[in-house]
């Protein structure tokens, strides 16, 4: 099965949908591995929100594309280069500081993204946005609170958080290299970056974290389906069953 994308709006929405999906899968890795049980449940909840969000976005994409494919086709039948998530979210859970930092950086971005999409011309998308914005508001509460605990907790937690941030910041630059498609469907691209930088800098300065200068990296853009090496492993696990039993049905 070769998955094709015809419409620009679908092409654009894959970026958001894939980002939700890949982050959801990453968060699910913490199930039974979180620092304590209450947090296990909290992370699972974020993961469930993200899977649900991805599924709804794939449904909207499927509608735009004339229902040639189902959301499950999009998730389980595409290859590495056919995914368009931001690289930030495919980065692994090295430790809890990575998990939380990645989440926080994503949530701040996602909040402005879905705020802008809520004035889209696509009514289905607008409907989804009002639900999604509530989820993000909550997730942000959770990830931001943890940034404070980790940044200001102990020397070790501060150092681990600083390390995670230093690594993950490498994957931020590309997020704001907006292309024509972004400019067509976001109402104010520049504001996505402005809001993000402001909030990140504000929180970092309050939690005793230094924002180090990141040299521009030679990294190809996620918008063209480029990834870090991590994506292949993530997909090979996620897609194993439908790939191994192509004629079987799963619901």
């Amino acid at each position: 099965m070769k998955i094709t994308i015809e419409n620009n709006e679908a092409k654009f929405l894959f970026r958001i949908a894939d980002t939700s999906l890949i982050l959801a899968q990453r968060m699910a890795e913490l199930c039974s591995n979180a620092p304590f049980l209450e947090e296990d449940i909290a992370i699972s909840n974020c993961s469930l929100d993200l899977f649900g969000r991805a599924e709804e976005l794939y449904k909207i994409i499927a509608t735009i594309e004339g229902n040639k494919f189902t959301p499950d086709d999009y998730v389980f039948r595409r290859n590495e280069r056919e995914f368009f998530n931001i690289k930030l979210v495919e980065q692994p859970n090295e430790d809890f500081a990575w998990t939380i930092t990645r989440q926080f950086m994503h949530d701040v971005w996602a909040k402005e993204v879905f705020t802008q999409l809520s004035s889209s011309k696509n009514e289905e998308l607008v409907g989804l946005c009002s639900k999604v914005l509530k989820e993000i508001e909550y997730s942000l509460l959770h990830s931001r609170d943890w940034m404070y605990r980790l940044g200001l907790g102990t020397e070790e937690s501060n150092k681990r958080t600083q390390d995670a941030i230093d690594h993950l910041l490498k994957y931020v630059e590309e997020i704001f290299n907006f292309d024509d498609l972004d400019k067509e469907y976001f109402s104010d691209c520049a504001n996505i970056e402005r809001v993000w930088q402001e909030e990140i800098n504000r929180v970092f300065s309050e939690i005793n974290i230094e924002r180090k200068e990141i040299q521009p990296l030679s990294m190809r853009d996620f918008r063209d389906g480029f990834h870090s090496e991590h994506i292949g492993h993530l997909l090979s696990i996620m897609q194993y069953l439908p790939r191994a039993y192509p004629d079987a049905k799963w619901s």
């Binding site: 039974s32 620092p35 304590f36 909840n45 469930l48 599924e55």
Partner: protein
């Protein structure tokens, strides 16, 4: 007998509930702590065999359903830990007992989940067996435990269904899927039946637990109820129960099974199951690798909460 003991006996006799601040015999307290913490640990360790397939669930729907289910199990563990805490044991102590193996958990979770069909079999058979037991425990005499069971049973109602749904899909799917489903049933059938514990004749704690109404129905009684419900469900799936001696007794109206392999049961209970070591190591690793996170949360709370409180 003093007035407190009399009051306790009266509560049991009248089928009322014992509450945390009531006087209770030390043995009653200890028996409850043992049973409730074992139950809590089972919910938590039980997250692992299902978590094993979470990242490989074959559809968006099944992935969300499975994650929600595992999340429920974590919640059940939490309800039960807090019930045990009302009896004077701390969560930390219970965790230590789990790690140093003085506390047990249900042996069923020491079996590996090797194919996706095992997610079906676990939900259908393991949650199914757990539900039969837990419904009975809604009438247990310790109030907080009974109330936790009511809440848990409400949440469990979807667990068995999601398992059976997977079994249906596979049993009625391709030949390869059906084969996987049968294989999963073959491996989980007898271990699921042994979840109810030893036969009544061999059960050590039975007498006092029944008298104190901690346990309301005997192991064999509950097991029989489960078998009678489950055999027709397997028939609907077109799958074969892996017991050549299984037969329906017209007179009693119950199914009869061949004798179980209790040697295997006790061997697994005593730590030699296929996954005992892995389950424990997994739990310890998550706990130990994240100690710094808990320390950070503690340190942060010390700095910030003090100002307000």
């Amino acid at each position: 007998m003093d007035k407190f003991e009399q009051a306790f006996n009266q509560i049991i006799e009248d089928d009322l509930k014992v509450e945390p601040r009531d006087w209770m015999p030390e043995k009653y307290r200890q028996t409850n702590i043992r049973q409730i913490s074992q139950h809590a640990h089972s919910e938590i360790i039980g997250m692992q065999p299902e978590g094993n397939w979470l990242l490989r669930a074959p559809s968006l729907r099944s992935k969300q359903v499975l994650l929600a289910k595992i999340q429920d199990e974590a919640g059940h563990g939490l309800y039960l830990y807090s019930v045990a805490e009302t009896l004077g044991i701390s969560r930390q102590e219970m965790n230590e007992q789990l790690h140093n193996q003085t506390a047990k958990y249900s042996s069923i979770f020491n079996y590996p989940t090797v194919t996706w069909a095992d997610m079906g079999a676990v939900g259908w058979l393991v949650d199914g067996a757990a539900i039969v037991n837990q419904v009975s425990l809604q009438r247990t005499s310790y109030g907080p435990y009974a109330r936790a069971m009511v809440r848990i049973c409400k949440e469990e109602s979807f667990h068995q269904r999601q398992g059976y749904e997977i079994m249906c899909q596979m049993a009625f799917g391709t030949a390869a899927q059906k084969e996987m489903a049968q294989d999963a049933l073959n491996r989980f059938w007898e271990p699921a039946l042994m979840m109810f514990g030893p036969h009544d004749a061999d059960s050590v704690h039975k007498g006092q637990s029944m008298a104190w109404k901690i346990k309301r129905e005997s192991n064999d009684h509950l097991r029989q109820r489960f078998i009678d419900r489950t055999v027709p469900q397997a028939e609907y799936l077109g799958l074969t129960i892996p017991d050549k001696g299984l037969k329906f007794n017209e007179e009693t109206g119950h199914y009869e099974t061949s004798p179980f392999n209790w040697d295997e049961f006790w061997n697994v209970v005593n730590g030699n199951g296929p996954c005992n070591q892995e389950r424990l190591d997994h739990h310890k690793k998550a706990h130990n690798d994240n100690r710094w996170v808990r320390e950070a949360a503690e340190a942060y709370a010390e700095k910030t909460e003090a100002q307000v409180a």
